[in-house]
């Protein structure tokens, strides 16, 4: 990591103010022109520092709005470029808040009807991406054929469909798909091969309606059911002792959870062993998906103990790799690690608490795959060191997030974006490369466990994409790992729009009272006083009552504070966007130094 986000922010704010030659009317005329232009090229106005600083001085509110609108245009551009298939594009469109989605179309010179967005894409990018967008927003002719009879029964035809916004279409089709998906997830086990095939086909028909998590959960269920069915068929008719027979019976018991059935099957496999025709690989694969046993499950005390052991061990491991910067960073910043549930993730960084949370479930899975107990991880030095070695790239990933959030001085988790993930994956990959070059154990792990350890698989896949080119690496991370994450542009636009809505409602109140405009600046003591009055805890429902009782100067102070906050976020975005643009150059240099210069030699 060459440059922290904070440095970029400081650089932007330190631009000489004299550049902002105050020619108010001319600045506002240019603002009007720039606002009316919704072409992709219009976003370049944000790169004109002299103009943006002049606008910031002339009318800070308009400067923030221009940043919001052009961030929306840039987000649209990133949607066109980064999402190669309609399903991932639809997922990212779906992940946007409803207000944002409407704004997206509004800024594209269109109303709320999705086809207008498609027109914008066609006008600026041609027919192919427009086709993808049309499918993503459920254009009539792109609907799953299996949904046709459902819509016909609901008396929904093309004309009515075409008039509906994306969310309405998506929700209508979700109603159709709901029983299909619920049927897959609730069908009693074990499944017959015919059921596996049928549910597989149903899942494919409804794939465009699933969130990333649903998609993964559905596929995992089908895959695990398939594994159970295959395992049961394999052991059918094998000579087994009474205990193994009882376990086989449990593996067939539909009253047990699928994971418990898989555990029973795993016990049969373990009992049968090589003489029963079961390979160690088959047993290890089941260990990944079966229920954990008591010795493989952390108690709260064991979780706390492990969490206490991790920081020093990770920093020591990172120091050995030669990966720069991280150990220095933690000389001045606290490293707090927790071992907790982090659904759907190997680990997460939590900006408000400054904590890295490692997934307890994933660590337990690692323990099972090693054929060990939790106690072994905590007590045996060799096992603990192996775990630290293999999981340390994940730690570097989360530590990068900590540096991103703390460095940019914006510790709001809602500002998390795909740009942060791309950088974190990049830093993780740099670290893995340095570590495997220095430590033979890591190189061996990546080579020998390439097909059995999901950590090794992930590190290898990222390394392979980077070896091919940084371009492929970015594509893989954006569309393969984090396709539902919003772009940096979307994150900023949503935040600026949220401030704008609040400002509008408070200004309406001031107007109704016949009060003057809010001051340009506000005394922090006044804001502290307002916050102490319980303002921060207000909800949209209780805000109205509070507003009626609030003094006019308090409302004016809030408007001023919101404007300052909005401008701070506009500045944050400007700095982050420039920092993000520098990342590909940094990746290119790393690739040339570590990959192109020494292409892997062919094994003899």
């Amino acid at each position: 990591m060459k440059r922290a986000p904070l440095a970029a922010l400081c650089l932007w704010l330190a631009l000489p103010v004299w550049q902002a030659a105050a020619d108010g009317p001319a600045v506002l005329r240019r603002y009007e022109q720039a606002s009316a232009d919704h072409s992709p090229a219009s976003a370049a106005v944000l790169d004109d520092d002299a103009f943006m600083l002049a606008l910031r001085q002339t009318d800070p509110g308009k400067a923030a709005l221009l940043v919001r609108d052009k961030a929306l245009i840039r987000d649209l551009e990133s949607l066109v470029e980064r999402y190669p298939d309609e399903d991932s594009l639809r997922r990212v469109l779906r992940s946007k808040s409803s207000e944002f989605f409407d704004d997206l179309f509004r800024s594209a010179d269109a109303g709320p009807v999705p086809e207008k967005l498609v027109d914008w894409v066609r006008r600026h990018h041609g027919a192919e991406p427009a086709k993808r967008f049309r499918a993503a927003v459920w254009g009539w002719e792109t609907l799953p054929k299996e949904a046709a009879s459902y819509l016909a029964a609901a008396r929904v035809g093309k004309a009515a469909w075409d008039q509906q916004p994306f969310r309405w279409r998506d929700e209508s089709l979700t109603k159709w798909a709901k029983p299909l998906l619920e049927g897959i997830m609730s069908a009693p086990t074990p499944w017959t091969p015919e059921q596996v095939k049928r549910f597989h086909a149903q899942a494919l028909a409804a794939k465009g309606l699933m969130s990333g998590e649903q998609w993964n959960a559905t596929w995992t269920r089908i895959n695990n059911e398939n594994r159970l069915g295959e395992g049961l068929a394999k052991m059918q008719g094998k000579p087994l002792g009474p205990e193994m027979k009882a376990q086989l019976q449990r593996a067939r018991d539909p009253k047990l959870s699928l994971e418990a059935q898989l555990d029973a099957l795993a016990r049969v496999f373990e009992g049968a062993g090589a003489s029963g025709g079961v390979t160690p690989k088959e047993t290890q694969e089941l260990a990944r998906i079966r229920q954990g046993r008591a010795s493989e499950t952390f108690t709260p005390d064991q979780r706390r103990l492990l969490a206490d052991m991790l920081p020093q061990a990770y920093l020591k491991q990172v120091a050995k790799s030669g990966y720069p910067g991280l150990n220095d960073y933690y000389k001045t910043h606290a490293l707090k690690i927790r071992v907790e549930a982090t659904p759907g993730a190997l680990a997460v960084y939590d900006p408000p608490t400054h904590q890295i949370k490692m997934s307890v479930k994933e660590i337990e899975t690692w323990v099972r795959q090693q054929n060990l107990a939790v106690g072994d991880l905590l007590a045996k030095k060799e096992v603990f060191e192996r775990f630290i070695l293999q999981s340390s790239p994940v730690f570097v990933h989360e530590a990068t997030h900590q540096r991103q959030f703390e460095g940019s001085k914006m510790e709001d988790a809602n500002l998390h974006s795909q740009a942060f993930e791309i950088q974190s994956m990049y830093e993780q990959t740099v670290y893995t490369k340095l570590l495997s070059n220095k430590d033979r154990r890591m190189a061996d792990f990546l080579a020998k466990d390439a097909k059995t350890s999901s950590l090794a698989m992930m590190y290898n896949q990222l390394d392979d994409a980077m070896r091919e080119s940084p371009r492929k690496f970015r594509q893989l991370v954006a569309s393969g790992y984090y396709c539902a994450y919003p772009s940096l542009h979307a994150v900023a636009a949503v935040r600026l729009e949220a401030s704008q809505q609040q400002i509008k409602s408070f200004e309406a109140e001031l107007k109704a009272r016949g009060a003057g405009p809010a001051p340009a600046k506000v005394d922090p003591a006044v804001i502290a006083q307002i916050m102490a009055s319980g303002y921060a805890k207000l909800t949209p429902e209780t805000l109205g009552a509070w507003l009626k009782k609030a003094k006019t100067e308090q409302v004016q102070a809030i408007v001023a504070a919101l404007r300052q906050d909005q401008l701070a976020h506009a500045d944050w975005y400007t700095a982050m966007e420039r920092w993000d643009r520098e990342l590909p150059g940094e990746m290119d240099k790393f690739w040339k130094d570590y990959y192109r210069a020494t292409p892997t030699t062919r094994p003899a």
Binding site: E86, L204, W215, W219, Y481
Partner: protein, 183 residues
């Protein structure tokens, strides 16, 4: 007379190679920035292009097949590496790097519509679902053709889960048989 006129017009178009209808089930892919065209399966989703093409000076498209099952999808790609591209100044360097990747077979001489090329295959694994310890490895096979151009070079490839590869190979063959690179 009208019919005769149409026949003549059609013949002229065919001669020019511009009006030839794509084979059934295929669509024409035109890539002006790459100076290339070819036929690709109709209904495969196209992506690529945009700002990064211009920044990296690699022009082309990726065609993604409808998924047969969750996990990696088969894809065809046509790329033109301009001489000033960000990564490989020459086809030889590309070959030394990509043709020697782990899991790659030995690059061998080949031809694409009479043009000299180098061909190699590569076996890799992809992870699904990504970012989870419960992920499984999916075997993936890639077949690549590298064609030198007067300036720069072309890379044509098919990437597909190994189990799906044989049936996708037909679409790749059609791409190769119709590939017209003007650089």
């Amino acid at each position: 007379m009208t019919a005769a006129f149409l026949a003549m017009a059609l013949a002229a178009l065919l001669q020019a190679g511009e009006g030839k209808m794509p084979a059934k089930g295929y669509a024409r892919l035109e890539l002006p920035e790459a100076g290339a065209k070819c036929e690709v399966p109709a209904g495969w989703e196209r992506s690529g292009g945009g700002e990064s093409d211009e920044r990296e000076r690699i022009f082309g498209a990726v065609l993604t097949a409808p998924r047969k099952q969750p996990g990696p999808a088969a894809s065809l790609s046509v790329e033109y590496y301009a001489p000033d591209n960000a990564y490989f100044p020459s086809a030889a360097l590309y070959l030394a790097h990509q043709g020697a990747a782990p899991g790659a077979g030995k690059p061998a001489p080949a031809k694409v519509r009479g043009r000299k090329a180098r061909r190699w295959t590569r076996a890799t694994t992809e992870v699904f679902p990504p970012n989870m310890v419960t992920a499984r490895a999916v075997e993936v096979k890639t077949e690549t053709f590298l064609l030198e151009a007067a300036t720069g070079f072309y890379v044509l490839s098919l990437r597909a889960p190994s189990a799906e590869f044989p049936e996708r190979r037909k679409a790749f063959q059609r791409l190769l048989d119709t590939f017209d690179g003007r650089r």
